[in-house]
Symmetry: C2
DNA sequence: GAGTGGTCTAGACCACTGA
DNA sequence: CAGTGGTCTAGACCACTCT
């Protein structure tokens, strides 16, 4: 292992009185020290860590620096912080991953494929109960239902089954969805304040097998996403990916 | 407009019920203002935003506050920041989701199920090429191969196919894996500095169908994860979930 | 009520990196 | 080289929430 510059460490294990600790500069180093306290068991799951100000004193830095380090650890899911309650090591360890989902056209082009798009269905109908549930809508209502296929080099890449809330995005009715996908229009014209994503696997039924040009029964990864603007649902979309599709995240 | 206190409150989405009030302070408000600049097209994809100090002057706050807001937008993938290069609206819109993957035992218990665990296989063998590739290891070597099933109320929940690098985690050989899963031991004893996750769908083959008590050909979501400590691989695991399993993320 | 984290400020200096 | 974001500091005050 090549020793990077952040490697040389001496653990602030037993500070003797008021002698000055070595000051590594940078909140990342402070973060690493605190992380090591947790990983080496000095503080176990559920334990309370010292106050920021005390850590700052021990590590000889400003409280803001400890705060910055703690924010990082909090974002990573390692600790939980509460006013007055202090900072605690998260009781149940988790893996927190970040996942980027690009626009399909961009994704295809980035992989060097020729992007194609095909509208399959466009209708205004009463939304099924499952869609109402996904969007947290109580009363039955009409929505715009759009089915489309994204192609890479002429081959089906992602099948998109989308429902758009007409109360929130009525302008969509005037858009020609046979050329440009609803996704792209929505991204550019309908900002959202909240969304959620669900991932699961399905077997291709006869209809899906035909649309995606795969064998019936093929296992397909589905990315389901719903977006809202201030509690008003905008759209919910079920993206069925082609066989072998892989969603990678790194951190 | 004379630069005064009650300036720069241009949120198109803001309800107009209240009379104009003093600008609320807080980096979240600053963030929302900048976000609206982007969403309303004042700055398009790829455009360069003003310098932090200028935004601070316009919004009448400290530069640190703008910085905090920008960090949030940068984390969310909306803008990209570079020293000297300034802040630019990210050219290709993406959806960035955060995904929490708990320890399986915790997950089962949180859902109210009775957790069970069963060791299927434990062997030290030469790692296949696919595993070497996943861990970025060049030379062939022996690894500990562990197969196990996590149960919920006696039913198969997740099948775990794991390879553990003996150079990095030799202590695992002394652990009794017939009672406690390798996952739990690793989480508590082998901190990692980096990991990646891959998600995809598979069809259950005959062997998998038998292990998971599902029909052959069932579509199963797979969560594949590899962890390293400073470039040294620790473990790579393929977690095959039961039918209907869903991974949800929200933000 | 009081303790703790969260935020803001103002300024200084550093570290990248584009022109 | 010079412009821009990144970080640190020291202090003040606020907001939450635990006891």
């Amino acid at each position: 292992m090549a020793a990077s510059k952040t490697d040389s460490f001496n653990r602030p294990e037993a500070p003797a009185g008021e002698m000055m600790e070595d000051q590594r500069q940078g909140w990342r180093d402070v973060r690493d020290v605190i992380r090591d306290w947790v990983l080496t068991g000095r503080y176990a799951a559920g334990d309370r860590l010292p106050r920021d100000v005390d850590i700052a004193a021990e590590l000889n830095c400003a409280r803001s620096t400890v705060l910055r380090a703690m924010q990082d650890l909090s974002d990573a899911g390692m600790v939980e912080r509460r006013r007055k309650g202090g900072t605690r090591v998260r009781p149940d360890p988790i893996v927190r991953a970040t996942l980027d989902i690009p626009i399909t056209r961009r994704e295809v082009e980035a992989k060097g494929g020729r992007y194609g798009y095909q509208l399959v269905k466009r209708e205004v109908v009463a939304a099924p109960r499952a869609i109402l549930a996904a969007t947290n809508v109580a009363d039955p209502r009409d929505m715009l239902h759009v089915e489309a296929i994204h192609l890479s080099d002429g081959q089906p890449y992602i099948f998109e089954d989308r429902w758009i809330c007409l109360e929130t995005a009525p302008e969509i009715l005037g858009i020609d969805l046979s050329r440009k996908s609803a996704n792209e229009w929505l991204v550019l014209n309908k900002p959202y304040s909240r969304f959620d994503v669900r991932l699961y696997a399905i077997m291709a039924d006869a209809g899906m097998a035909d649309l995606m040009a795969v064998a019936e029964g093929a296992a397909l990864l589905v990315i389901e996403r719903t977006t809202w603007i201030d509690e008003a649902p905008i759209t919910t979309v079920r993206s069925v990916t082609r066989p072998g599709y892989q969603l990678a995240t790194q951190s």
